[in-house]
Symmetry: C2
């Protein structure tokens, strides 16, 4: 009898990593969940719960947790990485010695590295021997997926083997997987839209109205699209699940952490306190600074991202920021791209 | 002393027409509001209210109402039309004799003509001598604008005179006007997104979750984009205020009539009763049929629009429709367009 089961390692036992492991196990594959927290490993292995990341959820008993990353990845055909950007490089370094070049890897981190503005795929290329990699992103609130609610996502990779392995591991009637090859575009959408979500949270808390909120979000997405295009991404990626789709949940759902951070800031909380009371990483906080640097590097005008960076890091009053944004010169509506836009511009950052 | 005031006629005294007249008057221009309802005219002229369309709002006393369309448009440099699609052609015919070819016209109707699937600009070209025309659309909930809340909109026209006149008449610190020239794209976004909004209302009422709702809306917008592109529009228009922007308010706001219609249908109301209890035109109801016809004519696969048409007009169970949509084959994520996509494909329907 052939064993059709895939061996899949999931690095990171936060709510997204735990959800991915659960999806893998539900499909009958072997899921090994890595976390450096030995107590958490013990809880997963003995009680089949992960109370901190997935309160109330009973995990598949086949999920095995390990605090030894080399052990977790040994023999895995596919590695899924769900580590927030601040710890991403360290985990790559930790895992590097155990990784084999034939292993396939998909990350699901929607952030850029603070300071370097590196995308997660770039960090993987810098720190590991992995080349066949991809990224997963979309409107995927973990709490809903854990409760069995339906969702769709996109896996982008230049390697069909990667998207195919991801589909085999994760796809089901309730978790639909679409594919693409614009790794750069999906990573930028996933990371940068968190900054737009913070702006949306601020707009909601200040009760500017649905019209003005939609105006601000559109403005932000247009800036995101311009930067992505300047960096070599396909602007059409924004029309997909990682773009419009993720935007819908991130800007509107009270479950979105970046949106909640925006609400807290608009209420007058300090950034430190807002971050602390969130208890999770809100990637948009440092991504706003990365966006500012990238906007300068690629010479793209990004007034909305700039205002969010100033509100979060330089004490600009949220109300003042929104007013400034509402009163910017009104020019052309939709972004325009050359013919290269639809087919992929020359990339400095392509994966 | 030069009189800088524009003479602007506004055809239609529903909530959008009344709002436009108020914006024109607030900018110090002369606004004449046409409605066939003489009682409504009297109310506007004598009490400066329009209780049915704008409850609680005190209109600018300079707004003059007339039930004689020729009188209303005589001497107007700019004509704004805010008539729902079912009455649009009749009003064009009524106004035709009084219109002059040098007059500029902007319509703000987000619908297609039932049966013919004509856009409003096509009807204007068929029925009147007006050639210098444009379209206005965006995330513009009238009730918010009437209360002085900020908003942004787009006016698209091939004629800079038209966008300029529209800006002069309507733009203010609280009502920002962006411009474009993709009349076709803005009209299609404005009309077709109402069908997506009905689907969003159904999804909300059936509590499919934020992930699945975002998935469905993304699917719908991708279909909308494919059809628009096949018809000759610029896919980037979807990234602007008439696309993503309008989508944000239409799919999320309880004030959106198409979203409310979707909610009512998902509750099990008949279409007739849902339409009646709305008391206003929900353009998406017949636009779903137009979309189906256009999808066939242009050979575009539009499963989400098809399902909404079947739910509304052929008794398909809303829950069944959503399940079918969640289980369609999962293929490529974002729509792809040839290089022509970014610069405008050959148009059969261009204005």
């Amino acid at each position: 009898m052939m064993d059709n089961r895939q061996h899949v390692a999931v690095l990171g036992a936060g709510n997204w990593g735990t959800t991915l492991a659960q999806l893998v196990a539900s499909n009958g594959h072997r899921a090994t969940l890595w976390t450096s927290d030995e107590g958490q490993c013990e809880e997963v292995n003995q009680q089949h719960t992960n109370a901190r990341a997935a309160p109330g959820l009973v995990l598949a008993s086949s999920i095995r947790a390990s605090s030894d990353v080399s052990e977790a990845i040994a023999g895995s055909e596919l590695i899924l990485v769900a580590i927030p950007s601040p710890g991403f490089r360290d985990v790559c370094r930790l895992a590097a010695a155990g990784l084999q070049p034939e292993q396939l890897l998909i990350h699901g981190t929607k952030g850029l590295e603070a300071g370097t503005h590196r995308r997660m795929s770039e960090i993987l290329l810098e720190e590991t021997c992995i080349r066949q990699l991809g990224v997963l992103a979309g409107p995927n609130i973990a709490a809903e997926i854990m409760r069995g609610k339906p969702a769709g996502t996109v896996i982008a990779s230049r390697f069909p083997r990667v998207t195919e392995a991801g589909r085999r591991a994760l796809a089901s009637a309730r978790f639909r997987i679409f594919t693409g090859n614009d790794v750069l575009g999906v990573e930028l959408c996933g990371a940068l839209k968190n900054v737009v979500a913070i702006a949306a949270g601020i707009a909601d808390e200040l009760s500017v109205g649905d019209n003005a909120k939609a105006f601000l979000v559109t403005r932000g997405m247009s800036e995101l699209m311009r930067l992505s295009f300047a960096m070599g991404a396909d602007p059409m990626t924004l029309a997909g699940l990682a773009g419009i789709g993720d935007l819908m949940v991130t800007c509107g759902s009270p479950l979105s952490r970046n949106h909640r951070l925006g609400v807290a800031i608009a209420r007058g909380e300090t950034l430190a306190r807002a971050v602390a009371s969130l208890g999770m990483v809100a990637e948009g906080v440092h991504t706003s600074l990365s966006a500012r640097s990238l906007a300068r590097e690629y010479d793209v005008d990004m007034p909305m991202f700039e205002r969010v960076a100033r509100v979060l890091h330089e004490g600009l009053e949220p109300l003042r920021a929104l007013e400034e944004l509402m009163h910017l010169p009104a020019g052309r509506d939709a972004p325009r791209f050359g013919a290269a836009g639809a087919t992929g511009a020359p990339s400095r950052h392509g994966t």
